[in-house]
Amino acid sequence: MAQIFRPSSNTVAPGVLVALALTPLVLGGVVWLLVWSPYSTAVGVPMNQAVPFSHQHHVGGLGIDCRYCHTGVETAAFAGVPTTRTCMTCHSQLWTEAPLLKPVRESLIANEPMRWKRVHALPDYVYFDHSIHVAKGISCVSCHGRVDRMPLVAKQETLYMRWCLDCHRHPERKLRAPGEVFDMASRDPSPEVGRQRLKAYQIQPARLLDCSLCHR
């Protein structure tokens, strides 16, 4: 009988076989990269807003405290976004004509709210409470990064559950002294300081891993 296949087939066939075996691995890897890439996490991707509000200028430059605008952060789950009034308290005096701020002025005149694009969005089934984190010494920086250095705010962390758990497993690594919480420059504590603060704040890490803490 004649040969059905050319000699080259002897290298092709095993090659194909190996390739088939590897495909699932490769695919998995691709998905993994995709999931962790900024494409889906939006980490480090600045969000364009109607008014290009610069935290760098207001916080870093002018040194305005977070709580001046994000009023709810100590009392409510929702940190709160400043009302048009809040912006106008200063900008009725400063830069009253600045074209950049036109939308703000219009909003006030038309009594039509500003519309900001969400930068940090959690799924609807996750219930995050700013007030308790702030009260227990978690600094703004720990999740939002050095906002005072951002001309336009961008996500610093993936906000994936895995990331939440990292901190909920070892809160002591992030705890700030009560005074430093809103201090952009504050640093993560040394291990023993962290442990002391853990006691001071009366945090039971074990409890922090219960599903019911964030999912209801």
Binding site: M1, F5, N10, A13, V35, Y160, M161, R162
Partner: protein
């Protein structure tokens, strides 16, 4: 196949002159003193004639009328499945009859039924191989194929019955963004592993057996495309002694692995129920009783497939009364075990002072669920008693009918187990009934379509009998009825 010699399109050597073409109708059976048919193969078979008989099915497309008719029906049912599943994904699981309390319905019933059927294949092939039961050689290939396709159908249901099938992969361990893992205490996770392992191993085992036969087809195939196809799938097999040697080792080791696997898979399936605390589910007899049931329904299905197959393709010479008789016997014995399972359930139920267990049993005996309990008893225990008689076992039509009855009976049994326990559990306030919907039936029939479509394609593409295995049974060189032991000359 009297036209075997005159065939022009078959390439390769004509069968050696003087080879008596194997009889389409088997010669009068020879019986052992105990009254068992003794012939394993019809007289007058040669390597060539065996090869011809088997290879002609895929290569010469014989009996295509029958084939197309069957395929038409199967394909139609398969289409029904596609429709049913699409609609299911669009609207949700609510289109089925499931409810609270009966949250599992046809899907799980069918799953258990199919996976049960999926057991005979590997069992026949592997266990009988290890036990050197040579009668396995003419039926193992079909049985294995049946296993593959049945497991495919079975595997569908656990996915379909999920409320959110789009996230089925939560069932498997992988590094996710949530830092979560499957919950390994759950029998459903065990299922996921068991079924996928079983499918993989059965597939390997089947394919391993097929490789040499694919080589045969390659060498006898007329068309270029065919030669290419079989050439690839036979991996360039050339029957080298070294290859045969390793092939045999691997084949036997796989059989050795498959045998406990078969037993484990249906035990695990049974744990889906017996791990739960429901009266009627929470029972230690389940694993053995499920395995017996699986073998039972499996053999029934093999018969259901083989009998018409052997008739249509005139393979009475290779699949002889002895095969049928043996299968009937295995089926019969496993049936008796199942019967014992029923008996024990009722017995324990009545014996226990657990009011819930007790009530459940009574409702089967003469309560709400007797309407299903007694049909099950009839199909799986009473009617099969006919198998005591040799004349029944020798009568293909009787066997065929019986196998159908048993298939139905075993499906009903699963329905009884799943539904009746759920609809009458602990609190009378939450009792409720279950009624299947059109889509329940559509999905069930649809998987039949999937199964038979695959099976028919298999008949057309692959050798439905293992030629190399059957050749082993022939005395090399000369013809004549083979005997059970391999030839003394063959092993030196």
């Amino acid at each position: 196949m009297n036209d075997a010699t005159s065939s022009t399109e078959t390439k390769g050597p004509p069968p050696p002159p003087g080879t008596p073409v194997s009889p389409t109708t088997e010669a009068e059976p020879v019986f052992s003193p105990l009254g068992y048919p003794q012939r394993l193969l019809a007289p007058g078979l040669t390597y060539a004639s065996i090869t011809e008989e088997v290879a002609s099915i895929p290569l010469r497309r014989i009996r295509s009328g029958w084939w197309w008719a069957a395929f038409g029906v199967a394909a139609a049912l398969l289409f029904l499945l596609v429709v049913a599943v699409s609609w299911l994904f669009v609207t949700g699981i609510g289109i089925w009859g499931v409810n609270i309390p009966v949250a599992w319905g046809f899907a799980i019933v069918n799953f258990v039924w199919w996976i049960g059927i999926g057991h005979a294949g590997t069992l026949i092939s592997a266990i009988l191989l290890l036990l050197a039961q040579h009668w396995r050689n003419s039926i193992n290939r079909t049985a294995e194929a049946m296993t593959i396709f049945a497991v495919m159908c079975a595997g569908l249901f656990p996915l379909l019955h999920l409320g959110r099938p789009q996230v089925f992969y939560f069932l498997f361990p992988y590094p996710d963004t949530m830092g979560l893992w499957p919950q390994f205490r759950s029998p459903l996770v065990w299922d996921a592993f068991a079924v996928s392992t079983y499918f993989t191993v059965s597939l390997l085992y089947w394919y391993l057996g097929l490789v040499p036969d694919f080589a045969t087809l390659r060498d006898r195939c007329a068309t270029r495309g065919g030669r290419f196809f079989y050439g690839v799938v036979s991996l360039g097999w050339r029957g080298s002694a070294a290859h045969w040697h390793r092939h045999q080792i691997a084949y036997r080791l796989l059989a050795g692995l498959a045998t406990p696997l078969v037993l484990s898979v249906h035990s695990i399936v049974s744990l889906d129920f017996s791990v739960a605390i429901l009266p009627g589910w929470h029972s230690t007899i389940f694993p053995p009783y499920f395995v017996a049931g699986a073998i039972y329904s499996g053999f029934a299905m093999v018969l259901t497939l083989l009998i018409p197959f052997r008739k249509v393709f005139a393979l009475e010479g290779l699949i002889t009364p002895r095969h049928l008789n043996n299968m009937a016997l295995v089926m019969f014995i496993s049936g008796l075990l199942v019967g014992y399972g029923y008996f024990m359930e009722v017995f324990m139920g009545l014996l226990s002072d657990d009011p819930f267990e007790h009530a459940g049993t009574l409702s089967r005996l003469w309560g709400a669920h007797s309407v299903i309990f007694y049909p099950v008893l009839l199909c799986n225990v009473i009617v099969p008693q006919l198998l005591w008689s040799r004349r029944i076992r020798m009568n293909v039509w009787a066997l065929f009918a019986l196998s159908i009855v048993i298939n139905i009976g075993m499906w009903l049994e699963r329905l009884m187990i799943v539904v009746s326990s759920l609809s009458r559990d602990f609190l009378p306030s939450s009792w409720g009934d279950y009624w299947p919907t059109f889509w329940d039936w559509a999905t069930f029939l649809g998987t039949m379509g999937l199964f038979f479509t695959c099976f028919l394609l298999f008949l057309r593409l692959a050798p439905a009998l293992s030629m190399s295995d059957v050749r082993e049974l022939l005395t090399p060189g000369e013809e004549g009825p083979p005997v059970d032991e391999p030839q003394p000359e063959a092993k030196v």
